[in-house]
Symmetry: C2
Subunit: 240 residues, 2 copies
Protein backbone atom coordinates (compact mmCIF):
# COMPACT_ATOMS: atom_id res chain seq x y z
CA UNK A 1 0.00 0.00 0.00
CA UNK A 2 1.27 3.45 -0.89
CA UNK A 3 2.57 5.77 1.80
CA UNK A 4 0.49 8.91 2.22
CA UNK A 5 2.14 12.25 2.90
CA UNK A 6 0.06 14.99 4.50
CA UNK A 7 1.68 18.35 3.97
CA UNK A 8 1.02 21.80 2.56
CA UNK A 9 0.76 21.71 -1.23
CA UNK A 10 2.27 25.10 -2.05
CA UNK A 11 5.68 24.91 -0.47
CA UNK A 12 8.66 22.65 0.12
CA UNK A 13 8.86 23.26 3.85
CA UNK A 14 9.61 20.45 6.24
CA UNK A 15 7.66 18.04 4.04
CA UNK A 16 10.40 18.27 1.42
CA UNK A 17 12.81 16.30 3.59
CA UNK A 18 10.30 13.45 3.50
CA UNK A 19 9.58 13.85 -0.22
CA UNK A 20 13.31 13.62 -1.01
CA UNK A 21 13.66 10.33 0.86
CA UNK A 22 10.58 8.83 -0.80
CA UNK A 23 11.64 10.04 -4.24
CA UNK A 24 15.24 8.90 -3.91
CA UNK A 25 14.05 5.42 -2.92
CA UNK A 26 11.49 5.27 -5.70
CA UNK A 27 8.82 4.61 -3.06
CA UNK A 28 5.13 4.46 -3.88
CA UNK A 29 3.52 7.46 -2.19
CA UNK A 30 0.65 9.89 -2.51
CA UNK A 31 1.15 13.57 -1.73
CA UNK A 32 -2.40 13.97 -0.44
CA UNK A 33 -2.83 17.73 -0.57
CA UNK A 34 -1.54 17.97 -4.13
CA UNK A 35 -4.11 15.73 -5.80
CA UNK A 36 -7.53 16.67 -7.20
CA UNK A 37 -10.46 17.28 -4.87
CA UNK A 38 -12.47 14.82 -6.95
CA UNK A 39 -10.15 12.05 -5.76
CA UNK A 40 -10.58 13.06 -2.13
CA UNK A 41 -7.27 14.87 -2.15
CA UNK A 42 -6.30 18.55 -2.30
CA UNK A 43 -6.02 21.12 0.46
CA UNK A 44 -9.49 20.24 1.73
CA UNK A 45 -8.44 16.66 2.37
CA UNK A 46 -5.39 17.87 4.29
CA UNK A 47 -7.50 20.22 6.41
CA UNK A 48 -10.07 17.53 7.17
CA UNK A 49 -7.26 15.18 8.17
CA UNK A 50 -5.62 17.71 10.49
CA UNK A 51 -8.93 18.43 12.22
CA UNK A 52 -10.20 14.86 12.38
CA UNK A 53 -11.26 14.22 16.00
CA UNK A 54 -11.20 10.45 15.48
CA UNK A 55 -7.42 10.32 15.15
CA UNK A 56 -6.09 8.84 18.36
CA UNK A 57 -2.55 10.09 17.87
CA UNK A 58 -2.81 13.54 16.28
CA UNK A 59 0.31 15.41 15.23
CA UNK A 60 0.86 18.96 16.44
CA UNK A 61 1.62 20.04 12.87
CA UNK A 62 2.31 18.56 9.43
CA UNK A 63 4.13 16.81 7.86
CA UNK A 64 2.44 13.54 8.76
CA UNK A 65 3.11 10.20 7.10
CA UNK A 66 0.54 7.43 6.98
CA UNK A 67 1.73 3.86 6.57
CA UNK A 68 -1.36 1.68 6.83
CA UNK A 69 -2.69 2.18 10.34
CA UNK A 70 0.37 4.04 11.55
CA UNK A 71 0.50 7.83 11.54
CA UNK A 72 3.78 9.61 12.23
CA UNK A 73 4.42 13.31 12.66
CA UNK A 74 7.61 15.30 13.14
CA UNK A 75 9.94 15.27 10.14
CA UNK A 76 12.85 13.60 11.91
CA UNK A 77 10.59 10.89 13.36
CA UNK A 78 9.17 10.19 9.90
CA UNK A 79 12.69 9.74 8.53
CA UNK A 80 13.64 7.57 11.51
CA UNK A 81 10.71 5.34 10.58
CA UNK A 82 11.28 5.39 6.82
CA UNK A 83 15.07 5.04 6.89
CA UNK A 84 15.25 1.25 7.24
CA UNK A 85 12.22 0.69 5.01
CA UNK A 86 13.69 2.77 2.18
CA UNK A 87 17.26 1.50 2.55
CA UNK A 88 18.42 4.97 3.53
CA UNK A 89 20.16 4.18 6.80
CA UNK A 90 22.74 1.66 8.02
CA UNK A 91 21.92 -1.62 9.71
CA UNK A 92 23.41 -1.11 13.16
CA UNK A 93 21.67 0.66 16.03
CA UNK A 94 24.75 2.87 16.43
CA UNK A 95 24.58 3.99 12.78
CA UNK A 96 20.85 4.57 13.01
CA UNK A 97 20.95 6.71 16.12
CA UNK A 98 23.90 8.73 14.77
CA UNK A 99 22.08 9.33 11.48
CA UNK A 100 19.06 10.47 13.49
CA UNK A 101 21.24 12.73 15.66
CA UNK A 102 22.51 14.44 12.50
CA UNK A 103 18.94 14.80 11.23
CA UNK A 104 17.90 16.44 14.50
CA UNK A 105 20.75 18.91 14.15
CA UNK A 106 19.59 19.67 10.60
CA UNK A 107 16.12 20.27 12.08
CA UNK A 108 17.66 22.77 14.50
CA UNK A 109 19.20 24.71 11.62
CA UNK A 110 15.89 24.64 9.75
CA UNK A 111 14.11 26.13 12.77
CA UNK A 112 16.74 28.84 13.06
CA UNK A 113 16.51 29.59 9.33
CA UNK A 114 12.74 29.97 9.69
CA UNK A 115 13.11 32.34 12.59
CA UNK A 116 15.30 34.72 10.59
CA UNK A 117 12.11 36.01 8.97
CA UNK A 118 9.86 35.25 11.93
CA UNK A 119 11.90 36.07 15.04
CA UNK A 120 8.90 37.34 17.03
CA UNK A 121 5.85 35.25 16.14
CA UNK A 122 4.60 32.92 13.43
CA UNK A 123 1.19 34.54 13.96
CA UNK A 124 2.57 37.80 12.54
CA UNK A 125 3.65 38.57 8.98
CA UNK A 126 7.26 39.22 8.08
CA UNK A 127 6.35 42.84 7.47
CA UNK A 128 5.39 43.13 11.14
CA UNK A 129 8.82 41.99 12.39
CA UNK A 130 11.31 43.32 9.84
CA UNK A 131 13.71 45.16 12.18
CA UNK A 132 13.95 42.13 14.46
CA UNK A 133 14.36 39.87 11.43
CA UNK A 134 17.25 41.96 10.17
CA UNK A 135 19.05 41.62 13.49
CA UNK A 136 18.41 37.91 13.80
CA UNK A 137 19.38 37.20 10.19
CA UNK A 138 22.65 39.08 10.61
CA UNK A 139 23.64 36.78 13.47
CA UNK A 140 22.43 33.71 11.60
CA UNK A 141 24.49 34.57 8.52
CA UNK A 142 27.62 35.63 10.37
CA UNK A 143 27.69 33.06 13.16
CA UNK A 144 25.21 30.24 12.85
CA UNK A 145 25.56 29.26 9.18
CA UNK A 146 29.36 29.05 9.55
CA UNK A 147 29.11 27.14 12.86
CA UNK A 148 26.66 24.58 11.56
CA UNK A 149 28.34 24.06 8.18
CA UNK A 150 31.67 23.64 9.94
CA UNK A 151 30.12 20.91 12.07
CA UNK A 152 28.80 19.07 9.01
CA UNK A 153 32.24 19.42 7.44
CA UNK A 154 33.79 17.88 10.58
CA UNK A 155 31.32 15.01 10.44
CA UNK A 156 32.17 14.36 6.77
CA UNK A 157 35.91 14.63 7.43
CA UNK A 158 35.79 12.20 10.32
CA UNK A 159 33.83 9.76 8.16
CA UNK A 160 34.89 9.19 4.52
CA UNK A 161 34.65 12.78 3.27
CA UNK A 162 31.68 12.00 1.05
CA UNK A 163 28.92 10.60 3.27
CA UNK A 164 27.79 11.71 6.69
CA UNK A 165 27.45 8.12 7.95
CA UNK A 166 29.11 4.98 6.63
CA UNK A 167 29.94 4.46 2.98
CA UNK A 168 26.61 5.07 1.28
CA UNK A 169 23.91 7.71 1.13
CA UNK A 170 21.52 7.99 4.08
CA UNK A 171 18.50 10.19 4.55
CA UNK A 172 20.76 12.58 6.47
CA UNK A 173 22.78 13.21 3.29
CA UNK A 174 19.58 13.95 1.38
CA UNK A 175 18.50 16.31 4.15
CA UNK A 176 21.85 18.08 4.22
CA UNK A 177 21.51 18.63 0.47
CA UNK A 178 18.07 20.15 1.06
CA UNK A 179 19.30 22.33 3.93
CA UNK A 180 22.19 23.69 1.89
CA UNK A 181 19.91 24.17 -1.10
CA UNK A 182 17.53 26.20 1.04
CA UNK A 183 20.30 28.26 2.61
CA UNK A 184 21.73 28.89 -0.84
CA UNK A 185 18.33 30.12 -2.05
CA UNK A 186 17.61 32.34 0.97
CA UNK A 187 21.10 33.62 1.72
CA UNK A 188 23.15 33.34 -1.49
CA UNK A 189 25.97 35.57 -0.29
CA UNK A 190 26.29 34.19 3.22
CA UNK A 191 26.01 30.61 1.98
CA UNK A 192 28.60 31.03 -0.74
CA UNK A 193 31.11 32.27 1.80
CA UNK A 194 30.38 29.44 4.22
CA UNK A 195 30.45 26.79 1.49
CA UNK A 196 33.85 27.92 0.27
CA UNK A 197 35.12 27.26 3.80
CA UNK A 198 33.51 23.83 3.90
CA UNK A 199 34.30 22.13 0.57
CA UNK A 200 33.04 18.66 1.47
CA UNK A 201 29.63 20.07 2.35
CA UNK A 202 29.65 21.90 -0.98
CA UNK A 203 30.64 18.70 -2.79
CA UNK A 204 27.85 16.73 -1.13
CA UNK A 205 25.38 19.44 -2.13
CA UNK A 206 26.57 19.09 -5.72
CA UNK A 207 26.61 15.29 -5.77
CA UNK A 208 23.23 14.40 -4.26
CA UNK A 209 21.07 15.92 -7.04
CA UNK A 210 22.95 13.83 -9.61
CA UNK A 211 21.43 10.66 -8.21
CA UNK A 212 19.18 9.48 -11.05
CA UNK A 213 15.84 9.36 -9.23
CA UNK A 214 16.50 12.65 -7.50
CA UNK A 215 17.60 14.29 -10.73
CA UNK A 216 14.31 13.22 -12.30
CA UNK A 217 12.34 14.47 -9.31
CA UNK A 218 14.10 17.82 -9.13
CA UNK A 219 13.43 18.41 -12.83
CA UNK A 220 9.76 17.44 -12.50
CA UNK A 221 6.73 19.54 -11.52
CA UNK A 222 6.61 17.53 -8.28
CA UNK A 223 9.49 19.67 -7.01
CA UNK A 224 7.81 22.87 -5.84
CA UNK A 225 10.08 25.87 -6.44
CA UNK A 226 11.44 27.73 -3.43
CA UNK A 227 9.20 30.67 -2.62
CA UNK A 228 8.47 33.26 0.04
CA UNK A 229 5.82 31.20 1.85
CA UNK A 230 8.42 28.67 2.92
CA UNK A 231 11.11 28.24 5.55
CA UNK A 232 13.80 29.48 3.16
CA UNK A 233 12.83 32.90 1.82
CA UNK A 234 14.88 35.14 -0.41
CA UNK A 235 14.63 38.52 1.23
CA UNK A 236 17.82 40.22 0.03
CA UNK A 237 17.86 42.53 3.04
CA UNK A 238 18.41 39.48 5.29
CA UNK A 239 21.45 38.09 3.44
CA UNK A 240 24.34 39.62 5.29
Amino acid sequence: MAYELYYWPMLQGRGEFVRLALEDAGADYVDIARGPDADGRGLGALTRFLEDPSIARPAFAPPVLRDGDTLIGQTAAILLYLGPRLGLVGESEADRIWTHQIQLTIADVVAEAHDTHHPIAISLNYEDQKPEAARRARDFCRNRIPEFLAWFEHVLTRNDGRHLVGDRVTYADLSLFQLVDGLHYAFPNASAAALSDNPQVAALHAAIPRRPRLAAYLASPRRIPFNEQCIFRRYPELDG
Copy 2:
Protein backbone atom coordinates in the same frame (compact mmCIF):
# COMPACT_ATOMS: atom_id res chain seq x y z
CA MET B 1 29.11 -0.06 33.15
CA ALA B 2 27.62 3.25 34.23
CA TYR B 3 26.18 5.63 31.68
CA GLU B 4 28.08 8.91 31.44
CA LEU B 5 26.22 12.18 30.93
CA TYR B 6 28.14 15.12 29.51
CA TYR B 7 26.30 18.35 30.22
CA TRP B 8 26.76 21.75 31.82
CA PRO B 9 27.04 21.45 35.60
CA MET B 10 25.32 24.69 36.61
CA LEU B 11 21.93 24.40 35.00
CA GLN B 12 19.09 21.98 34.29
CA GLY B 13 18.82 22.80 30.61
CA ARG B 14 18.25 20.09 28.06
CA GLY B 15 20.35 17.68 30.11
CA GLU B 16 17.62 17.60 32.74
CA PHE B 17 15.33 15.60 30.45
CA VAL B 18 18.01 12.91 30.39
CA ARG B 19 18.70 13.15 34.13
CA LEU B 20 15.01 12.66 34.90
CA ALA B 21 14.85 9.45 32.85
CA LEU B 22 18.03 8.07 34.41
CA GLU B 23 16.90 9.00 37.92
CA ASP B 24 13.37 7.66 37.52
CA ALA B 25 14.77 4.34 36.32
CA GLY B 26 17.35 4.18 39.10
CA ALA B 27 20.03 3.84 36.44
CA ASP B 28 23.72 3.85 37.27
CA TYR B 29 25.14 7.04 35.75
CA VAL B 30 27.86 9.62 36.22
CA ASP B 31 27.14 13.30 35.64
CA ILE B 32 30.65 13.98 34.39
CA ALA B 33 30.86 17.75 34.74
CA ARG B 34 29.56 17.70 38.30
CA GLY B 35 32.26 15.55 39.85
CA PRO B 36 35.62 16.60 41.30
CA ASP B 37 38.50 17.51 39.01
CA ALA B 38 40.65 15.06 40.95
CA ASP B 39 38.49 12.23 39.60
CA GLY B 40 38.86 13.46 36.03
CA ARG B 41 35.46 15.07 36.15
CA GLY B 42 34.27 18.67 36.51
CA LEU B 43 33.83 21.39 33.89
CA GLY B 44 37.35 20.79 32.59
CA ALA B 45 36.51 17.19 31.75
CA LEU B 46 33.38 18.33 29.89
CA THR B 47 35.35 20.92 27.92
CA ARG B 48 38.07 18.43 27.01
CA PHE B 49 35.43 15.98 25.87
CA LEU B 50 33.63 18.53 23.69
CA GLU B 51 36.89 19.55 22.02
CA ASP B 52 38.38 16.07 21.65
CA PRO B 53 39.46 15.70 18.00
CA SER B 54 39.64 11.92 18.31
CA ILE B 55 35.86 11.55 18.62
CA ALA B 56 34.63 10.17 15.31
CA ARG B 57 31.02 11.18 15.89
CA PRO B 58 31.06 14.54 17.67
CA ALA B 59 27.83 16.14 18.82
CA PHE B 60 27.08 19.72 17.81
CA ALA B 61 26.26 20.54 21.43
CA PRO B 62 25.65 18.83 24.77
CA PRO B 63 23.94 16.88 26.24
CA VAL B 64 25.83 13.78 25.16
CA LEU B 65 25.38 10.32 26.64
CA ARG B 66 28.09 7.71 26.61
CA ASP B 67 27.14 4.05 26.80
CA GLY B 68 30.36 2.10 26.44
CA ASP B 69 31.65 2.86 22.95
CA THR B 70 28.46 4.60 21.84
CA LEU B 71 28.10 8.38 22.07
CA ILE B 72 24.73 9.98 21.48
CA GLY B 73 23.86 13.67 21.26
CA GLN B 74 20.54 15.47 20.87
CA THR B 75 18.24 15.12 23.88
CA ALA B 76 15.44 13.39 22.01
CA ALA B 77 17.85 10.91 20.42
CA ILE B 78 19.31 10.10 23.83
CA LEU B 79 15.84 9.36 25.17
CA LEU B 80 15.01 7.32 22.07
CA TYR B 81 18.08 5.22 22.87
CA LEU B 82 17.51 5.02 26.62
CA GLY B 83 13.75 4.43 26.53
CA PRO B 84 13.80 0.67 25.96
CA ARG B 85 16.87 0.18 28.16
CA LEU B 86 15.28 1.98 31.10
CA GLY B 87 11.78 0.53 30.66
CA LEU B 88 10.42 3.99 29.87
CA VAL B 89 8.71 3.27 26.55
CA GLY B 90 6.29 0.67 25.19
CA GLU B 91 7.31 -2.46 23.32
CA SER B 92 5.79 -1.84 19.89
CA GLU B 93 7.41 0.18 17.14
CA ALA B 94 4.20 2.24 16.87
CA ASP B 95 4.31 3.14 20.57
CA ARG B 96 8.01 3.97 20.38
CA ILE B 97 7.76 6.27 17.40
CA TRP B 98 4.69 8.02 18.85
CA THR B 99 6.49 8.55 22.17
CA HIS B 100 9.42 9.97 20.23
CA GLN B 101 7.11 12.23 18.20
CA ILE B 102 5.75 13.67 21.44
CA GLN B 103 9.30 14.16 22.73
CA LEU B 104 10.22 16.06 19.57
CA THR B 105 7.22 18.33 20.06
CA ILE B 106 8.35 18.96 23.64
CA ALA B 107 11.76 19.85 22.20
CA ASP B 108 10.08 22.38 19.93
CA VAL B 109 8.42 24.06 22.92
CA VAL B 110 11.74 24.08 24.77
CA ALA B 111 13.42 25.85 21.85
CA GLU B 112 10.64 28.41 21.70
CA ALA B 113 10.82 28.97 25.47
CA HIS B 114 14.55 29.57 25.15
CA ASP B 115 14.03 32.09 22.39
CA THR B 116 11.71 34.21 24.51
CA HIS B 117 14.82 35.61 26.22
CA HIS B 118 17.11 35.14 23.20
CA PRO B 119 15.03 36.03 20.14
CA ILE B 120 17.94 37.58 18.24
CA ALA B 121 21.11 35.63 19.02
CA ILE B 122 22.50 33.23 21.58
CA SER B 123 25.81 35.06 21.16
CA LEU B 124 24.25 38.15 22.76
CA ASN B 125 23.12 38.65 26.35
CA TYR B 126 19.48 39.03 27.29
CA GLU B 127 20.18 42.67 28.10
CA ASP B 128 21.10 43.22 24.45
CA GLN B 129 17.75 41.96 23.13
CA LYS B 130 15.19 42.99 25.74
CA PRO B 131 12.67 44.82 23.51
CA GLU B 132 12.60 41.91 21.07
CA ALA B 133 12.35 39.46 23.96
CA ALA B 134 9.34 41.30 25.33
CA ARG B 135 7.55 41.03 21.99
CA ARG B 136 8.42 37.39 21.47
CA ALA B 137 7.49 36.43 25.04
CA ARG B 138 4.11 38.13 24.71
CA ASP B 139 3.26 35.93 21.74
CA PHE B 140 4.66 32.84 23.43
CA CYS B 141 2.56 33.40 26.55
CA ARG B 142 -0.63 34.37 24.75
CA ASN B 143 -0.55 31.97 21.82
CA ARG B 144 2.09 29.30 21.97
CA ILE B 145 1.82 28.07 25.58
CA PRO B 146 -1.97 27.66 25.19
CA GLU B 147 -1.63 25.94 21.79
CA PHE B 148 0.99 23.48 22.95
CA LEU B 149 -0.64 22.66 26.28
CA ALA B 150 -3.97 22.14 24.50
CA TRP B 151 -2.26 19.64 22.22
CA PHE B 152 -0.80 17.72 25.18
CA GLU B 153 -4.27 17.76 26.76
CA HIS B 154 -5.71 16.31 23.54
CA VAL B 155 -3.08 13.59 23.52
CA LEU B 156 -3.87 12.69 27.14
CA THR B 157 -7.62 12.75 26.49
CA ARG B 158 -7.36 10.52 23.46
CA ASN B 159 -5.26 8.08 25.49
CA ASP B 160 -6.28 7.26 29.10
CA GLY B 161 -6.26 10.76 30.55
CA ARG B 162 -3.22 10.03 32.71
CA HIS B 163 -0.41 8.93 30.42
CA LEU B 164 0.65 10.29 27.07
CA VAL B 165 1.20 6.82 25.61
CA GLY B 166 -0.26 3.51 26.75
CA ASP B 167 -1.05 2.74 30.37
CA ARG B 168 2.24 3.45 32.10
CA VAL B 169 4.76 6.22 32.41
CA THR B 170 7.13 6.82 29.50
CA TYR B 171 10.02 9.22 29.14
CA ALA B 172 7.60 11.58 27.37
CA ASP B 173 5.56 11.90 30.57
CA LEU B 174 8.72 12.73 32.52
CA SER B 175 9.65 15.30 29.90
CA LEU B 176 6.19 16.87 29.92
CA PHE B 177 6.50 17.23 33.69
CA GLN B 178 9.84 19.00 33.20
CA LEU B 179 8.48 21.24 30.46
CA VAL B 180 5.51 22.32 32.57
CA ASP B 181 7.77 22.76 35.58
CA GLY B 182 10.01 25.06 33.56
CA LEU B 183 7.13 27.03 32.10
CA HIS B 184 5.67 27.38 35.58
CA TYR B 185 8.98 28.75 36.85
CA ALA B 186 9.56 31.15 33.97
CA PHE B 187 6.00 32.28 33.30
CA PRO B 188 3.97 31.70 36.48
CA ASN B 189 1.03 33.81 35.40
CA ALA B 190 0.77 32.62 31.82
CA SER B 191 1.29 29.01 32.84
CA ALA B 192 -1.33 29.10 35.59
CA ALA B 193 -3.90 30.33 33.11
CA ALA B 194 -3.01 27.69 30.54
CA LEU B 195 -2.91 24.89 33.11
CA SER B 196 -6.37 25.74 34.38
CA ASP B 197 -7.61 25.21 30.82
CA ASN B 198 -5.78 21.88 30.55
CA PRO B 199 -6.47 19.95 33.77
CA GLN B 200 -4.99 16.63 32.68
CA VAL B 201 -1.68 18.28 31.88
CA ALA B 202 -1.81 19.91 35.32
CA ALA B 203 -2.61 16.55 36.93
CA LEU B 204 0.30 14.86 35.18
CA HIS B 205 2.60 17.65 36.33
CA ALA B 206 1.43 17.03 39.90
CA ALA B 207 1.64 13.22 39.72
CA ILE B 208 5.05 12.64 38.17
CA PRO B 209 7.12 14.13 41.03
CA ARG B 210 5.39 11.78 43.47
CA ARG B 211 7.08 8.79 41.89
CA PRO B 212 9.42 7.59 44.67
CA ARG B 213 12.76 7.78 42.86
CA LEU B 214 11.90 11.12 41.30
CA ALA B 215 10.69 12.51 44.62
CA ALA B 216 14.04 11.55 46.14
CA TYR B 217 15.92 13.09 43.23
CA LEU B 218 13.97 16.32 43.24
CA ALA B 219 14.62 16.75 46.98
CA SER B 220 18.33 16.03 46.59
CA PRO B 221 21.23 18.35 45.74
CA ARG B 222 21.46 16.54 42.40
CA ARG B 223 18.45 18.58 41.24
CA ILE B 224 19.94 21.92 40.26
CA PRO B 225 17.49 24.75 41.03
CA PHE B 226 16.02 26.69 38.13
CA ASN B 227 18.08 29.80 37.48
CA GLU B 228 18.63 32.57 34.99
CA GLN B 229 21.40 30.78 33.06
CA CYS B 230 18.96 28.17 31.85
CA ILE B 231 16.29 27.73 29.19
CA PHE B 232 13.55 28.66 31.64
CA ARG B 233 14.31 32.07 33.17
CA ARG B 234 12.13 34.03 35.51
CA TYR B 235 12.17 37.51 34.06
CA PRO B 236 8.89 38.95 35.36
CA GLU B 237 8.70 41.42 32.48
CA LEU B 238 8.34 38.48 30.07
CA ASP B 239 5.40 36.79 31.83
CA GLY B 240 2.42 38.26 30.05
